[in-house]
C-alpha cells in the first residue's frame, strides 16, 4: 500500500509497538528479576527496574552452583547444552546431506523404498519413539554420556528431504559438465554440491541448533548424573525444588543465560539464513 493516510499510519504503528512491547515484556521481566535478591520477587509489587544484586547472582550461577539445581554451576550446564546442540546440528546436517546425495544422484536397488522409509519417519516425532529409543540407549550403556544425548536425535528426515528437494533443482547439465571435467562422485559432492548448498546449510544450522538447544524431554530421560544436565533441565529443576520457595532470581538469571547462545547463532547467521529461505537457486 502506497497510500499516505496519517491516521492509518498512526494506527499501524500503535499496533506494531503494542505487539513488540507485549512480546518483549517477559524478557524484560527476566532481565530485571535476575538482578534482585531473593526477597524482592516473593511478594507484590514486583520490581520493574534493575536491582543491585545482578553481579552476585550471575557469578553464583556461572561458577558456584546451586543446591536447588543439584549443585552444578549453570556454566557447566551451558557447556552440556552447547555440546548437545552442536552435536545434533552437525550430525543431522552431515548425515542428511549425504543421504540426500545418495538418493538423488545414485541409482541403486530399492532407492525409492529407502526414500519413502525416510520420508515416513517424518511422521514420528521424538516423543513417539522415545521409549524404544531409551531402551536401546540403556542396552548400549550410553546413559549419562554426550553420545547418548546426541546420537539418537541425529537422524533427520526433514533435513534429508530439504536437501533432496534442493538437489533436484540443480540442473542436470551441471552434473554432466562435472562428469566431462572428470570430477568423480566425491569431487562433485565436495567441490560443487557442498558450496552450492551453503545457504541451505546455514538455514538448517539455525533451525537445528535451536531444536537441539531446546531439547528437554530426551536429556531429562537419559541423564541422572548432574554433570550431564542441560540448561533447559536446570531451569526446570530450580523451579520444582521441593518444599522451599522457588529461587526466582536465579531461575530468571538462568533463563537469560539460556537465551544467549540461540540469539548469537541467529544474529551471526541471519543474512545467510534469510538468503537460504528466500533464494531460489538460478
Amino acid at each position: 500500500m502506497v497510500e499516505n493516510r496519517p491516521l492509518a499510519a498512526l494506527l499501524t504503528h500503535a499496533v506494531l509497538i503494542a505487539g513488540i512491547l507485549f512480546l518483549c515484556f517477559p524478557v524484560w521481566m527476566a532481565l530485571v528479576a535476575s538482578t534482585h535478591g531473593p526477597g524482592a520477587l516473593a511478594h507484590a509489587p514486583i520490581p520493574l527496574w534493575f536491582g543491585d544484586q545482578g553481579w552476585q547472582n550471575y557469578r553464583q550461577l556461572l561458577t558456584g552452583g546451586l543446591p536447588e539445581a543439584g549443585g552444578v554451576p549453570v556454566g557447566r550446564m551451558m557447556v552440556n547444552s552447547l555440546v548437545m546442540a552442536l552435536g545434533i546440528t552437525f550430525g543431522k546436517i552431515a548425515v542428511s546431506i549425504i543421504a540426500a546425495y545418495a538418493i538423488v544422484y545414485f541409482r541403486f536397488p530399492l532407492r525409492m523404498l529407502f526414500f519413502w522409509v525416510i520420508f515416513l519417519t517424518l511422521m514420528l516425532p521424538v516423543e513417539v519413539r522415545i521409549l524404544p529409543t531409551f531402551d536401546v540407549i540403556v542396552r548400549l550403556d550410553m546413559l549419562n554420556s554426550y553420545a547418548g544425548l546426541t546420537i539418537p536425535l541425529i537422524a533427520s528426515a526433514t533435513a534429508t528431504f530439504l536437501f533432496r528437494q534442493f538437489f533436484l533443482t540443480i540442473p542436470d547439465e551441471l552434473t554432466e559438465a562435472a562428469r566431462i571435467d572428470r570430477a568423480g562422485p566425491l569431487r562433485f559432492f565436495w567441490d560443487i554440491l557442498l558450496p552450492l548448498s551453503r545457504t541451505n546449510i546455514a538455514a538448517l544450522f539455525i533451525i537445528l541448533f535451536i531444536y537441539g538447544w531446546n531439547q528437554y524431554l530426551w536429556p531429562l530421560l537419559i541423564t541422572t548424573d548432574e554433570g550431564f544436565y542441560t540448561v533447559v533441565m536446570g531451569i526446570q529443576r530450580m523451579v520444582n525444588s521441593g518444599e522451599s520457595l522457588p529461587v526466582w532470581h536465579y531461575v530468571m538469571g538462568t533463563a537469560v543465560l539460556a537465551m544467549i547462545p540461540p540469539v548469537v547463532v541467529v544474529v551471526a547467521m541471519q543474512k545467510l539464513f534469510v538468503k537460504g529461505l528466500v533464494e531460489s537457486e538460478k
Binding site: 547439465e173 559438465a177 572428470r182 570430477a183 567441490d191 558450496p195 552450492l196 537457486e281 538460478k282
Partner: protein, 357 residues
C-alpha cells in the same frame, strides 16, 4: 584432434522408444560437423552418446579408431558446451575454466597459463575474477567455450550453444565460433535446430529426422541436390515450394501437370517414367518473372518486403508458393503475374517415398 566414427548407432530407451536408429557417418580430423533437425529428431541424443552421457544401446562410437562405448565421459578426452552453459555458479570465471585441469592434477602455473591463453582468445580477461551470475549471456557462453578450450580436448561437442542468446548476439557468436574453429582446427560436432546456423558453420551437415539420418554432405551439396523431401524442405529460408502433380513425358521435354490442369515445365528424367505422381520442388529465389507469353500464371496473395528482398506469396495452381526477388517490383495483391524458372533448378521427388528422382 581426432576423427570420429559413428557406426549403426542406436538408442532405445527402456520404455521401448527409439530415439536414434542406425546412424552411420564419420567425421574427419579437424572437421566441423553440424547435426541439424527438428526438435526430438535424436540429434542431441547422438551428441550425448558421443559424450558418454547417454548409454549406447546399439552400434558403436570410435574416437581415433578406439571404441569408446564403455568409457566414462571424463576418459574420452572430449569437451562439451551446453545450451544453458552449465557454469558452476559458485566459482569465479577463472576457476570455472581451470576446474578440469585442476582435477587432472596439472601444476598451478600451467593452469594459469592455459586459462589466460583461452581468456585472451575469447576476450574474457577482464572478467576472470567475477562469478558467472555477473556476466551477460554472451559472456557466459564464451566462458563455457573457454572451459572447453583450456582442455586441448580431441573433440569439441556443442549442444545448441546459441539457443539461449538473442538473435543479434547469436549471429555474432556464430561467426566467433566459426573463426575459432578455423584457428584451432579441432574436430567439432555441433547440434542445432537452426538450419541457418547449420548452413553457415558446417563443413558438412548431417540432417536428421525422427531418429534417422536423412542425408550427410556439404552445405551447398545438400542445398542444391537434397536427397528427399524432408531435406529439401528443411534447408533454406524461406523454404522450398512443393507442388503436387503428375509427371508427363513429351517429345520435346517433360512437364508436371497439376490437378487443375496447369502444366509446369520440368527437365526430363529417365525415359521409363511417364504419368507418375510426383512432387515438384522449386526454391523461392529460383522463381523469376517470365517474359510476355511465357511462364505460368499466378495470383499475388501477400507481399512482404524485407528490405534486401521482396517475398511474394502467390497462388500457383492452387498451392501457396513463395517467390523471392531482389529487384523491387511493385507487386500488388490480387495482381496476376507470370512466373518462370530454369529447368535445371527444379527438383522432382517421388510422391510416395519422398526420394529425389
Amino acid at each position: 584432434m581426432a576423427q570420429l566414427e559413428i557406426s549403426s548407432l542406436t538408442k532405445t530407451y527402456p520404455g521401448g522408444v527409439t530415439a536414434v536408429c542406425d546412424a552411420n557417418f564419420s567425421i574427419r580430423d579437424g572437421e566441423f560437423i553440424v547435426l541439424v533437425g527438428p526438435s526430438g529428431c535424436g540429434k542431441s541424443t547422438i551428441l550425448r552418446m558421443i559424450a558418454g552421457l547417454e548409454t549406447i544401446t546399439g552400434g558403436e562410437v570410435k574416437i581415433d579408431g578406439t571404441r569408446v562405448n564403455e568409457q566414462e565421459p571424463g576418459e574420452r578426452d572430449i569437451a562439451m558446451v551446453f545450451q544453458n552453459y552449465a557454469l558452476y555458479p559458485h566459482m569465479s570465471i577463472f576457476d570455472n575454466m581451470g576446474f578440469s585441469l585442476k582435477l587432472r592434477k596439472r601444476p598451478k602455473t600451467e593452469i594459469e597459463e592455459k586459462v589466460l591463453e583461452a581468456a585472451e582468445i575469447l576476450n574474457l580477461k577482464p572478467y576472470l575474477e567475477r562469478s558467472p551470475g555477473q556476466l551477460s549471456g554472451g559472456q557466459r557462453q564464451r566462458v563455457a567455450m573457454g572451459r572447453a578450450l583450456v582442455r586441448d580436448a580431441q573433440v569439441f561437442l556443442f549442444d545448441e550453444p546459441l539457443s539461449n542468446l538473442d538473435a543479434k548476439l547469436r549471429v555474432v557468436m556464430r561467426t566467433e565460433i566459426k573463426a575459432l574453429h578455423q584457428r584451432l582446427k579441432t574436430t567439432s560436432v555441433y547440434v542445432t535446430h537452426d538450419q541457418i546456423e547449420a548452413m553457415t558453420m558446417a563443413d558438412r551437415i548431417v540432417v536428421m529426422n525422427a531418429g534417422r539420418v536423412e542425408q550427410v554432405g556439404a552445405p551447398l551439396e545438400l542445398y542444391d541436390s537434397p536427397a528427399n523431401l524432408f531435406v529439401a524442405g528443411f534447408l533454406g529460408s524461406p523454404s522450398m515450394n512443393f507442388i503436387k502433380g503428375r509427371y508427363q513425358r513429351e517429345k520435346d521435354g517433360a512437364r508436371v501437370v497439376c490437378e487443375d490442369g496447369t502444366a509446369l515445365p520440368v527437365s526430363p528424367v529417365s525415359s521409363a517414367w511417364h504419368d507418375e505422381p510426383v512432387v515438384l520442388g522449386i526454391r523461392p529465389e529460383h522463381l523469376r518473372l517470365a517474359g510476355e507469353g511465357e511462364g505460368v500464371a499466378a495470383t499475388v496473395d501477400v507481399v512482404e518486403p524485407t528490405g534486401a528482398n521482396i517475398e511474394v506469396f502467390v497462388d500457383l495452381a492452387g498451392e501457396r508458393v513463395c517467390a523471392v526477388f531482389s529487384e523491387r517490383h511493385p507487386f500488388r495483391p490480387g495482381e496476376t503475374v507470370a512466373l518462370g524458372w530454369d529447368l535445371d533448378k527444379v527438383h522432382l521427388f517421388d510422391s510416395d517415398t519422398g526420394k529425389r528422382i
